[in-house]
Protein backbone atom coordinates (compact mmCIF):
# COMPACT_ATOMS: atom_id res chain seq x y z
CA UNK A 1 0.00 0.00 0.00
CA UNK A 2 2.70 2.37 1.03
CA UNK A 3 4.52 1.76 -2.27
CA UNK A 4 1.40 2.50 -4.28
CA UNK A 5 0.87 5.89 -2.69
CA UNK A 6 4.51 6.79 -3.04
CA UNK A 7 4.49 6.16 -6.78
CA UNK A 8 1.24 8.06 -7.22
CA UNK A 9 2.65 11.08 -5.45
CA UNK A 10 5.19 11.50 -8.22
CA UNK A 11 2.43 12.46 -10.66
CA UNK A 12 0.56 14.78 -8.28
CA UNK A 13 1.28 18.49 -7.92
CA UNK A 14 3.36 19.21 -4.87
CA UNK A 15 2.01 21.25 -1.95
CA UNK A 16 -0.87 20.81 0.41
CA UNK A 17 -4.38 20.57 -0.94
CA UNK A 18 -7.08 22.68 0.72
CA UNK A 19 -10.65 22.05 -0.36
CA UNK A 20 -12.70 25.02 -1.57
CA UNK A 21 -16.18 25.20 -3.08
CA UNK A 22 -16.16 26.26 -6.75
CA UNK A 23 -18.62 26.82 -9.55
CA UNK A 24 -18.53 23.81 -11.83
CA UNK A 25 -19.36 24.21 -15.51
CA UNK A 26 -20.67 20.85 -16.64
CA UNK A 27 -20.75 21.87 -20.30
CA UNK A 28 -17.26 23.36 -20.43
CA UNK A 29 -13.95 21.69 -21.14
CA UNK A 30 -12.42 22.54 -17.76
CA UNK A 31 -14.60 20.15 -15.78
CA UNK A 32 -12.74 18.48 -12.89
CA UNK A 33 -14.25 15.18 -11.81
CA UNK A 34 -12.25 15.12 -8.58
CA UNK A 35 -13.42 18.58 -7.56
CA UNK A 36 -16.99 17.57 -8.40
CA UNK A 37 -16.82 14.43 -6.20
CA UNK A 38 -15.24 16.31 -3.29
CA UNK A 39 -17.91 19.00 -3.53
CA UNK A 40 -20.57 16.34 -3.51
CA UNK A 41 -18.96 14.76 -0.45
CA UNK A 42 -18.82 17.99 1.49
CA UNK A 43 -22.32 19.12 0.54
CA UNK A 44 -24.13 15.83 0.90
CA UNK A 45 -27.21 15.51 3.14
CA UNK A 46 -27.34 13.75 6.49
CA UNK A 47 -28.93 10.52 5.18
CA UNK A 48 -26.29 10.07 2.52
CA UNK A 49 -23.59 10.95 4.99
CA UNK A 50 -24.72 8.14 7.31
CA UNK A 51 -24.64 5.69 4.39
CA UNK A 52 -21.16 6.95 3.53
CA UNK A 53 -20.15 6.42 7.15
CA UNK A 54 -21.23 2.76 7.00
CA UNK A 55 -19.43 2.14 3.76
CA UNK A 56 -16.30 3.95 4.93
CA UNK A 57 -16.19 2.02 8.19
CA UNK A 58 -16.55 -1.29 6.36
CA UNK A 59 -13.74 -0.41 3.96
CA UNK A 60 -11.26 1.36 6.21
CA UNK A 61 -12.24 0.62 9.81
CA UNK A 62 -13.80 2.60 12.64
CA UNK A 63 -10.61 4.37 13.63
CA UNK A 64 -10.20 5.76 10.15
CA UNK A 65 -13.79 6.94 10.16
CA UNK A 66 -13.34 8.65 13.50
CA UNK A 67 -10.43 10.61 12.03
CA UNK A 68 -12.56 11.52 9.02
CA UNK A 69 -15.49 12.71 11.14
CA UNK A 70 -13.14 14.70 13.37
CA UNK A 71 -11.58 16.52 10.46
CA UNK A 72 -14.70 16.75 8.23
CA UNK A 73 -15.66 20.34 9.10
CA UNK A 74 -12.11 21.63 8.99
CA UNK A 75 -11.62 20.11 5.54
CA UNK A 76 -14.94 21.46 4.31
CA UNK A 77 -14.11 24.98 5.41
CA UNK A 78 -10.63 24.71 3.87
CA UNK A 79 -8.99 25.25 7.28
CA UNK A 80 -6.97 22.04 7.18
CA UNK A 81 -5.29 20.35 4.23
CA UNK A 82 -6.74 17.16 2.86
CA UNK A 83 -4.13 14.42 2.57
CA UNK A 84 -3.80 12.37 -0.60
CA UNK A 85 -4.74 9.24 1.27
CA UNK A 86 -8.00 10.74 2.52
CA UNK A 87 -8.77 12.37 -0.78
CA UNK A 88 -8.27 9.10 -2.64
CA UNK A 89 -10.51 7.28 -0.20
CA UNK A 90 -13.29 9.87 -0.59
CA UNK A 91 -12.95 9.87 -4.37
CA UNK A 92 -13.14 6.07 -4.49
CA UNK A 93 -16.24 6.06 -2.32
CA UNK A 94 -18.31 8.94 -3.70
CA UNK A 95 -19.45 7.64 -7.13
CA UNK A 96 -21.81 5.24 -5.30
CA UNK A 97 -23.39 8.03 -3.22
CA UNK A 98 -24.20 10.72 -5.75
CA UNK A 99 -27.48 12.62 -5.41
CA UNK A 100 -29.99 12.53 -8.32
CA UNK A 101 -29.05 16.12 -9.17
CA UNK A 102 -25.36 15.22 -9.25
CA UNK A 103 -26.12 12.25 -11.50
CA UNK A 104 -28.09 14.57 -13.79
CA UNK A 105 -25.24 17.09 -13.85
CA UNK A 106 -22.75 14.37 -14.65
CA UNK A 107 -25.06 13.22 -17.43
CA UNK A 108 -25.10 16.76 -18.79
CA UNK A 109 -21.31 16.70 -18.82
CA UNK A 110 -21.31 13.38 -20.71
CA UNK A 111 -23.99 14.66 -23.10
CA UNK A 112 -22.12 17.87 -23.94
CA UNK A 113 -18.82 16.01 -24.24
CA UNK A 114 -20.43 13.47 -26.55
CA UNK A 115 -21.65 16.19 -28.95
CA UNK A 116 -18.40 18.12 -28.89
CA UNK A 117 -16.29 14.97 -29.02
CA UNK A 118 -18.09 13.56 -32.06
CA UNK A 119 -17.85 16.88 -33.93
CA UNK A 120 -14.21 17.51 -33.04
CA UNK A 121 -13.11 13.97 -33.82
CA UNK A 122 -14.86 14.02 -37.18
CA UNK A 123 -13.40 17.40 -38.11
CA UNK A 124 -9.95 16.30 -36.96
CA UNK A 125 -10.19 13.14 -39.01
CA UNK A 126 -11.22 15.03 -42.15
CA UNK A 127 -8.42 17.52 -41.60
CA UNK A 128 -5.93 14.68 -41.20
CA UNK A 129 -7.28 12.98 -44.27
CA UNK A 130 -6.82 16.05 -46.44
CA UNK A 131 -3.95 17.93 -44.83
CA UNK A 132 -2.93 16.24 -41.65
CA UNK A 133 -0.25 14.19 -40.01
CA UNK A 134 -1.80 10.83 -39.32
CA UNK A 135 -0.89 8.76 -42.33
CA UNK A 136 -2.24 5.50 -41.04
CA UNK A 137 -5.57 5.57 -42.87
CA UNK A 138 -5.57 4.02 -46.33
CA UNK A 139 -7.36 7.02 -47.78
CA UNK A 140 -4.89 9.49 -46.36
CA UNK A 141 -3.19 11.28 -49.20
CA UNK A 142 -0.65 13.22 -47.22
CA UNK A 143 2.88 11.85 -46.89
CA UNK A 144 6.21 12.26 -45.17
CA UNK A 145 9.00 13.75 -47.20
CA UNK A 146 12.54 12.37 -47.16
CA UNK A 147 13.60 14.54 -44.21
CA UNK A 148 10.54 13.37 -42.24
CA UNK A 149 8.70 16.67 -42.40
CA UNK A 150 5.03 16.43 -43.13
CA UNK A 151 3.70 17.60 -46.45
CA UNK A 152 0.11 17.35 -47.59
CA UNK A 153 -0.04 15.90 -51.06
CA UNK A 154 -1.26 17.99 -53.97
CA UNK A 155 -5.02 18.40 -53.98
CA UNK A 156 -6.97 15.88 -56.00
CA UNK A 157 -8.16 17.32 -59.33
CA UNK A 158 -11.88 16.91 -59.70
CA UNK A 159 -14.64 17.16 -62.25
CA UNK A 160 -18.20 18.09 -61.32
CA UNK A 161 -19.17 14.43 -61.15
CA UNK A 162 -16.23 13.67 -58.87
CA UNK A 163 -17.22 16.61 -56.72
CA UNK A 164 -20.74 15.28 -56.26
CA UNK A 165 -19.30 11.90 -55.26
CA UNK A 166 -16.93 13.67 -52.90
CA UNK A 167 -19.77 15.46 -51.12
CA UNK A 168 -21.82 12.27 -51.05
CA UNK A 169 -18.85 10.56 -49.35
CA UNK A 170 -18.65 13.38 -46.81
CA UNK A 171 -22.34 12.96 -46.06
CA UNK A 172 -21.91 9.21 -45.69
CA UNK A 173 -18.97 9.82 -43.34
CA UNK A 174 -21.23 11.96 -41.14
CA UNK A 175 -24.01 9.41 -41.21
CA UNK A 176 -21.62 6.61 -40.27
CA UNK A 177 -20.60 8.33 -37.03
CA UNK A 178 -21.26 6.33 -33.89
CA UNK A 179 -22.10 7.22 -30.30
CA UNK A 180 -19.41 8.66 -28.05
CA UNK A 181 -17.96 6.51 -25.21
CA UNK A 182 -18.80 7.77 -21.74
CA UNK A 183 -16.18 8.79 -19.21
CA UNK A 184 -17.79 8.95 -15.78
CA UNK A 185 -21.44 8.12 -16.29
CA UNK A 186 -23.02 6.02 -19.01
CA UNK A 187 -25.78 7.83 -20.88
CA UNK A 188 -29.10 6.17 -21.60
CA UNK A 189 -29.22 4.79 -25.16
CA UNK A 190 -31.74 7.47 -26.17
CA UNK A 191 -29.58 10.24 -24.74
CA UNK A 192 -26.48 8.93 -26.52
CA UNK A 193 -28.46 8.77 -29.79
CA UNK A 194 -29.75 12.28 -29.24
CA UNK A 195 -26.19 13.59 -28.75
CA UNK A 196 -25.15 11.77 -31.93
CA UNK A 197 -28.04 13.28 -33.90
CA UNK A 198 -27.19 16.79 -32.72
CA UNK A 199 -23.54 16.31 -33.69
CA UNK A 200 -24.63 15.03 -37.10
CA UNK A 201 -26.95 18.02 -37.53
CA UNK A 202 -24.14 20.49 -36.82
CA UNK A 203 -21.74 18.63 -39.14
CA UNK A 204 -24.35 18.52 -41.91
CA UNK A 205 -24.91 22.23 -41.42
CA UNK A 206 -21.19 22.95 -41.74
CA UNK A 207 -20.82 20.65 -44.75
CA UNK A 208 -23.75 22.32 -46.51
CA UNK A 209 -22.26 25.72 -45.79
CA UNK A 210 -18.83 24.65 -47.12
CA UNK A 211 -20.35 23.12 -50.24
CA UNK A 212 -22.33 26.27 -50.93
CA UNK A 213 -19.20 28.36 -50.57
CA UNK A 214 -17.25 26.24 -53.03
CA UNK A 215 -20.09 26.24 -55.57
CA UNK A 216 -20.52 29.97 -55.18
CA UNK A 217 -16.80 30.48 -55.80
CA UNK A 218 -16.96 28.29 -58.89
CA UNK A 219 -19.93 30.18 -60.31
CA UNK A 220 -18.21 33.54 -59.66
CA UNK A 221 -14.78 32.52 -60.84
CA UNK A 222 -15.65 30.33 -63.79
CA UNK A 223 -16.21 33.23 -66.27
CA UNK A 224 -12.92 34.80 -65.20
CA UNK A 225 -11.23 31.41 -65.40
CA UNK A 226 -12.34 30.95 -68.99
CA UNK A 227 -11.27 34.46 -70.00
CA UNK A 228 -7.90 34.03 -68.30
CA UNK A 229 -7.44 30.66 -69.99
CA UNK A 230 -8.10 32.29 -73.37
CA UNK A 231 -5.16 34.64 -72.84
CA UNK A 232 -2.87 31.75 -71.90
CA UNK A 233 -3.14 31.70 -68.09
CA UNK A 234 -3.17 28.57 -65.97
CA UNK A 235 -6.12 28.81 -63.61
CA UNK A 236 -6.85 26.46 -60.76
CA UNK A 237 -9.32 26.57 -57.92
CA UNK A 238 -8.38 24.78 -54.69
CA UNK A 239 -10.75 23.94 -51.87
CA UNK A 240 -8.37 22.99 -49.02
CA UNK A 241 -11.19 22.00 -46.67
CA UNK A 242 -12.01 19.15 -49.01
CA UNK A 243 -8.46 18.57 -50.27
CA UNK A 244 -9.56 19.03 -53.88
CA UNK A 245 -8.89 21.31 -56.83
CA UNK A 246 -10.61 22.20 -60.10
CA UNK A 247 -8.84 23.10 -63.31
CA UNK A 248 -11.41 25.73 -64.16
CA UNK A 249 -9.24 27.17 -66.92
CA UNK A 250 -10.31 24.28 -69.10
CA UNK A 251 -13.85 25.52 -68.78
CA UNK A 252 -15.06 21.95 -68.29
CA UNK A 253 -16.98 22.65 -65.12
CA UNK A 254 -20.51 23.82 -65.27
CA UNK A 255 -21.57 24.61 -61.73
CA UNK A 256 -23.45 21.83 -60.02
CA UNK A 257 -26.42 22.19 -57.71
CA UNK A 258 -25.63 21.61 -54.06
CA UNK A 259 -26.40 18.09 -52.94
CA UNK A 260 -25.60 18.20 -49.25
CA UNK A 261 -28.58 18.61 -46.97
CA UNK A 262 -29.34 19.28 -43.35
CA UNK A 263 -31.72 17.09 -41.35
CA UNK A 264 -34.92 18.73 -40.19
CA UNK A 265 -34.81 19.55 -36.52
CA UNK A 266 -37.26 17.39 -34.66
CA UNK A 267 -38.21 18.36 -31.15
CA UNK A 268 -37.49 15.88 -28.42
CA UNK A 269 -38.33 15.92 -24.75
CA UNK A 270 -35.07 14.43 -23.57
CA UNK A 271 -33.55 15.31 -20.22
CA UNK A 272 -30.93 17.52 -21.83
CA UNK A 273 -33.06 19.15 -24.50
CA UNK A 274 -32.60 22.64 -23.05
CA UNK A 275 -28.85 22.29 -23.29
CA UNK A 276 -29.12 20.71 -26.75
CA UNK A 277 -31.23 23.59 -28.10
CA UNK A 278 -28.87 26.14 -26.62
CA UNK A 279 -25.83 24.40 -28.04
CA UNK A 280 -27.35 24.14 -31.50
CA UNK A 281 -28.45 27.77 -31.51
CA UNK A 282 -24.96 28.97 -30.61
CA UNK A 283 -23.28 26.65 -33.12
CA UNK A 284 -25.70 27.69 -35.88
CA UNK A 285 -25.08 31.36 -35.11
CA UNK A 286 -21.36 30.76 -35.26
CA UNK A 287 -21.72 29.01 -38.62
CA UNK A 288 -23.74 31.98 -39.90
CA UNK A 289 -21.16 34.53 -38.72
CA UNK A 290 -18.32 32.54 -40.33
CA UNK A 291 -20.36 32.32 -43.54
CA UNK A 292 -20.76 36.11 -43.52
CA UNK A 293 -16.98 36.55 -43.42
CA UNK A 294 -16.47 34.02 -46.21
CA UNK A 295 -19.06 35.66 -48.44
CA UNK A 296 -17.45 39.03 -47.89
CA UNK A 297 -14.17 37.56 -49.18
CA UNK A 298 -15.95 36.12 -52.21
CA UNK A 299 -17.45 39.49 -53.16
CA UNK A 300 -14.07 41.19 -52.95
CA UNK A 301 -12.34 38.43 -54.95
CA UNK A 302 -14.89 39.02 -57.72
CA UNK A 303 -13.83 42.68 -57.88
CA UNK A 304 -10.12 41.80 -57.62
CA UNK A 305 -10.35 39.38 -60.53
CA UNK A 306 -12.03 42.05 -62.62
CA UNK A 307 -9.21 44.47 -61.78
CA UNK A 308 -6.60 41.83 -62.57
CA UNK A 309 -8.07 41.05 -65.98
CA UNK A 310 -7.93 44.73 -66.94
CA UNK A 311 -4.29 44.99 -65.86
CA UNK A 312 -3.35 41.81 -67.72
CA UNK A 313 -4.75 43.37 -70.90
CA UNK A 314 -2.48 46.35 -70.19
CA UNK A 315 0.53 44.05 -69.67
CA UNK A 316 -0.03 42.60 -73.14
CA UNK A 317 0.42 46.04 -74.71
CA UNK A 318 3.91 46.58 -73.19
CA UNK A 319 7.08 45.39 -74.84
CA UNK A 320 8.12 43.30 -71.86
CA UNK A 321 8.27 39.78 -70.52
CA UNK A 322 5.91 39.55 -67.58
CA UNK A 323 5.40 36.63 -65.23
CA UNK A 324 2.39 36.84 -62.99
CA UNK A 325 1.55 34.60 -60.03
CA UNK A 326 -1.53 35.40 -58.05
CA UNK A 327 -3.93 33.85 -55.59
CA UNK A 328 -7.36 35.07 -54.55
CA UNK A 329 -9.35 33.76 -51.61
CA UNK A 330 -13.00 33.18 -52.31
CA UNK A 331 -15.60 32.05 -49.81
CA UNK A 332 -14.65 28.38 -49.86
CA UNK A 333 -11.25 28.16 -51.49
CA UNK A 334 -8.44 29.83 -53.37
CA UNK A 335 -8.14 30.70 -57.04
CA UNK A 336 -4.58 30.40 -58.31
CA UNK A 337 -3.70 32.19 -61.55
CA UNK A 338 -0.32 32.03 -63.23
CA UNK A 339 0.48 33.69 -66.52
CA UNK A 340 3.53 34.44 -68.63
CA UNK A 341 3.32 37.27 -71.15
CA UNK A 342 6.08 37.30 -73.76
CA UNK A 343 5.80 39.90 -76.56
CA UNK A 344 6.52 38.45 -80.08
CA UNK A 345 9.60 40.59 -80.68
CA UNK A 346 10.93 39.64 -77.24
CA UNK A 347 10.45 35.96 -78.02
CA UNK A 348 12.39 36.40 -81.27
CA UNK A 349 15.10 38.39 -79.50
CA UNK A 350 15.31 35.71 -76.79
CA UNK A 351 15.82 33.03 -79.46
CA UNK A 352 18.45 35.01 -81.36
CA UNK A 353 20.22 35.99 -78.13
CA UNK A 354 20.41 32.40 -76.94
CA UNK A 355 21.79 31.30 -80.31
CA UNK A 356 24.41 34.05 -80.28
CA UNK A 357 25.40 33.20 -76.73
CA UNK A 358 26.15 29.61 -77.75
CA UNK A 359 28.11 30.76 -80.79
CA UNK A 360 30.04 33.26 -78.68
CA UNK A 361 30.87 30.68 -76.02
CA UNK A 362 32.10 28.23 -78.69
CA UNK A 363 34.11 31.02 -80.34
CA UNK A 364 35.69 32.11 -77.07
CA UNK A 365 36.62 28.53 -76.22
CA UNK A 366 38.16 27.93 -79.68
CA UNK A 367 40.10 31.22 -79.48
CA UNK A 368 41.44 30.30 -76.09
CA UNK A 369 42.59 26.84 -77.18
CA UNK A 370 43.98 28.27 -80.46
CA UNK A 371 46.05 30.88 -78.62
CA UNK A 372 47.47 28.22 -76.31
CA UNK A 373 48.33 25.96 -79.30
CA UNK A 374 49.74 28.84 -81.34
CA UNK A 375 52.18 29.84 -78.63
CA UNK A 376 52.85 26.22 -77.59
CA UNK A 377 51.71 26.74 -74.02
CA UNK A 378 51.21 23.00 -73.47
CA UNK A 379 51.42 22.92 -69.67
CA UNK A 380 48.63 25.52 -69.43
CA UNK A 381 46.59 23.59 -72.01
CA UNK A 382 46.88 20.42 -69.91
CA UNK A 383 45.71 22.34 -66.88
CA UNK A 384 42.83 23.98 -68.77
CA UNK A 385 41.72 20.80 -70.55
CA UNK A 386 39.47 19.58 -67.68
CA UNK A 387 37.53 22.84 -68.15
CA UNK A 388 36.17 21.15 -71.29
CA UNK A 389 33.74 19.24 -69.09
CA UNK A 390 32.51 22.47 -67.54
CA UNK A 391 32.14 23.95 -70.99
CA UNK A 392 30.03 20.97 -72.14
CA UNK A 393 27.79 21.41 -69.06
CA UNK A 394 27.40 25.09 -69.84
CA UNK A 395 26.50 24.30 -73.46
CA UNK A 396 23.83 21.85 -72.31
CA UNK A 397 22.22 24.61 -70.23
CA UNK A 398 22.37 27.02 -73.11
CA UNK A 399 20.79 24.51 -75.49
CA UNK A 400 17.98 24.09 -72.99
CA UNK A 401 17.47 27.84 -73.10
CA UNK A 402 17.42 27.76 -76.89
CA UNK A 403 14.73 25.05 -76.79
CA UNK A 404 12.79 27.18 -74.30
CA UNK A 405 13.15 30.24 -76.48
CA UNK A 406 12.03 28.26 -79.55
CA UNK A 407 8.96 27.09 -77.66
CA UNK A 408 8.16 30.66 -76.60
CA UNK A 409 8.66 31.82 -80.17
CA UNK A 410 6.17 29.23 -81.42
CA UNK A 411 3.69 30.16 -78.68
CA UNK A 412 3.98 33.93 -78.63
CA UNK A 413 5.78 34.78 -81.88
Amino acid sequence: MRYRYRTRRQYRPRGKFFFSDRDIDFTGDSFSYEQFLLQEFFSTDVDTLSRIRDAYTVRHGKQAFDYLSRKYHEWREGDFHLTELMRDRILALMPDFLSPKAIHDLGLYEFSQAIKGIIQKHERNRLKLYNGQDGSASGDRAHFTKNRTWRPSAPMMLTVEDWRDHIANEMRAIESLTTWPHRYRELEAEEADEALEIARYILHLKLAQCEQHVLRDLSTMLPYGERLHNIGAKVRYEAPEFGVAFDIAKGAHSVAMPISSVPELVESNGEYQVYADRYMAYEATNVQVVAGHAECGAAVSDMDLHLLLERIAQLHTTNRVAKLDSSFRGSGGILIVSLEVIPPNFARAQFVRSGFKVLLACGAFIVGVAVLVRFALWPILVIVLPALFLFVGYLQGEFGEIRNAARNLRKHG
Binding site: V262, P263, T285, M303, R311, T318, L324
Partner: protein, 125 residues
Protein backbone atom coordinates in the same frame (compact mmCIF):
# COMPACT_ATOMS: atom_id res chain seq x y z
CA UNK B 1 -34.43 13.22 -32.62
CA UNK B 2 -36.61 11.38 -35.05
CA UNK B 3 -35.18 8.39 -36.87
CA UNK B 4 -37.17 9.21 -40.02
CA UNK B 5 -35.69 12.60 -40.40
CA UNK B 6 -36.66 14.80 -43.30
CA UNK B 7 -33.81 16.12 -45.34
CA UNK B 8 -34.00 19.65 -46.60
CA UNK B 9 -31.63 21.81 -48.62
CA UNK B 10 -29.60 24.15 -46.48
CA UNK B 11 -30.81 27.71 -46.26
CA UNK B 12 -28.96 30.30 -44.19
CA UNK B 13 -32.16 32.05 -43.09
CA UNK B 14 -33.22 28.83 -41.36
CA UNK B 15 -30.65 29.49 -38.69
CA UNK B 16 -32.58 32.53 -37.57
CA UNK B 17 -35.77 30.45 -37.53
CA UNK B 18 -34.03 27.82 -35.41
CA UNK B 19 -33.11 30.51 -32.89
CA UNK B 20 -36.48 32.22 -32.86
CA UNK B 21 -38.58 29.08 -32.73
CA UNK B 22 -36.59 27.28 -30.10
CA UNK B 23 -38.76 27.08 -26.95
CA UNK B 24 -35.82 26.23 -24.73
CA UNK B 25 -33.84 29.40 -25.31
CA UNK B 26 -34.21 32.07 -22.69
CA UNK B 27 -34.75 35.71 -23.60
CA UNK B 28 -31.19 36.32 -22.48
CA UNK B 29 -29.88 33.60 -24.81
CA UNK B 30 -31.84 35.04 -27.74
CA UNK B 31 -30.55 38.51 -27.00
CA UNK B 32 -27.00 37.18 -26.75
CA UNK B 33 -27.33 35.32 -30.05
CA UNK B 34 -28.82 38.33 -31.80
CA UNK B 35 -25.95 40.38 -30.44
CA UNK B 36 -23.47 37.85 -31.80
CA UNK B 37 -25.14 37.96 -35.21
CA UNK B 38 -25.19 41.75 -35.24
CA UNK B 39 -21.59 42.12 -34.14
CA UNK B 40 -20.70 39.50 -36.75
CA UNK B 41 -22.44 41.60 -39.41
CA UNK B 42 -20.67 44.75 -38.28
CA UNK B 43 -17.32 42.94 -38.41
CA UNK B 44 -18.11 41.65 -41.90
CA UNK B 45 -18.94 45.17 -43.08
CA UNK B 46 -15.76 46.53 -41.54
CA UNK B 47 -13.71 43.73 -43.10
CA UNK B 48 -15.36 44.31 -46.49
CA UNK B 49 -14.52 48.01 -46.40
CA UNK B 50 -10.91 47.27 -45.44
CA UNK B 51 -10.59 44.69 -48.19
CA UNK B 52 -12.11 47.04 -50.77
CA UNK B 53 -9.73 49.82 -49.77
CA UNK B 54 -6.80 47.40 -50.05
CA UNK B 55 -7.94 46.27 -53.49
CA UNK B 56 -8.36 49.81 -54.76
CA UNK B 57 -4.92 50.71 -53.43
CA UNK B 58 -3.33 47.65 -55.06
CA UNK B 59 -5.13 48.41 -58.35
CA UNK B 60 -3.79 51.98 -58.31
CA UNK B 61 -0.28 50.81 -57.44
CA UNK B 62 -0.35 48.31 -60.27
CA UNK B 63 -1.61 51.01 -62.65
CA UNK B 64 1.12 53.48 -61.77
CA UNK B 65 3.80 50.77 -61.95
CA UNK B 66 2.63 49.78 -65.41
CA UNK B 67 2.71 53.44 -66.49
CA UNK B 68 6.29 53.80 -65.24
CA UNK B 69 7.33 50.61 -67.05
CA UNK B 70 5.69 51.85 -70.24
CA UNK B 71 7.58 55.15 -69.97
CA UNK B 72 10.88 53.31 -69.42
CA UNK B 73 10.14 51.08 -72.41
CA UNK B 74 9.77 54.15 -74.60
CA UNK B 75 13.12 55.46 -73.42
CA UNK B 76 14.70 52.13 -74.34
CA UNK B 77 15.96 51.34 -70.86
CA UNK B 78 16.34 47.65 -70.02
CA UNK B 79 15.01 46.93 -66.56
CA UNK B 80 14.01 43.84 -64.61
CA UNK B 81 11.94 43.92 -61.43
CA UNK B 82 9.71 41.88 -59.16
CA UNK B 83 6.73 43.42 -57.39
CA UNK B 84 4.03 42.17 -55.06
CA UNK B 85 0.60 43.77 -54.84
CA UNK B 86 -1.64 42.94 -51.90
CA UNK B 87 -5.28 42.92 -52.95
CA UNK B 88 -8.19 42.60 -50.55
CA UNK B 89 -8.73 38.93 -51.31
CA UNK B 90 -5.25 37.91 -52.32
CA UNK B 91 -1.94 38.90 -53.75
CA UNK B 92 -0.42 39.33 -57.19
CA UNK B 93 3.27 38.87 -57.85
CA UNK B 94 4.50 40.41 -61.07
CA UNK B 95 7.97 39.83 -62.43
CA UNK B 96 8.82 41.82 -65.53
CA UNK B 97 11.90 42.32 -67.60
CA UNK B 98 12.42 44.10 -70.85
CA UNK B 99 13.20 47.38 -72.51
CA UNK B 100 15.30 47.81 -75.61
CA UNK B 101 15.71 44.33 -77.07
CA UNK B 102 17.51 45.75 -80.10
CA UNK B 103 20.51 46.63 -77.94
CA UNK B 104 21.39 43.07 -77.01
CA UNK B 105 21.94 41.70 -80.51
CA UNK B 106 24.41 44.40 -81.67
CA UNK B 107 26.40 43.84 -78.49
CA UNK B 108 26.58 40.15 -79.24
CA UNK B 109 27.54 40.81 -82.89
CA UNK B 110 30.39 43.11 -81.81
CA UNK B 111 31.65 40.45 -79.38
CA UNK B 112 31.57 37.91 -82.25
CA UNK B 113 33.58 40.23 -84.47
CA UNK B 114 36.17 40.69 -81.70
CA UNK B 115 36.60 36.92 -81.43
CA UNK B 116 37.08 36.55 -85.19
CA UNK B 117 39.58 39.42 -85.15
CA UNK B 118 41.57 37.76 -82.38
CA UNK B 119 41.64 34.49 -84.35
CA UNK B 120 42.82 36.28 -87.49
CA UNK B 121 45.58 38.12 -85.60
CA UNK B 122 46.79 34.92 -83.96
CA UNK B 123 46.79 32.75 -87.10
CA UNK B 124 47.58 35.37 -89.82
CA UNK B 125 50.91 33.69 -90.73
Amino acid sequence: MDENKQLAKFDGSRILDVINQSPNLTAEDKRDLEKQMMSGNVEVQKKALEMLAKSMQAGNDLDSTLRIIEALDKKGIYISEKMTFEFGSGRVEVQTKGGDTKLIIPVLVILGIIIIAVLLIVFWD
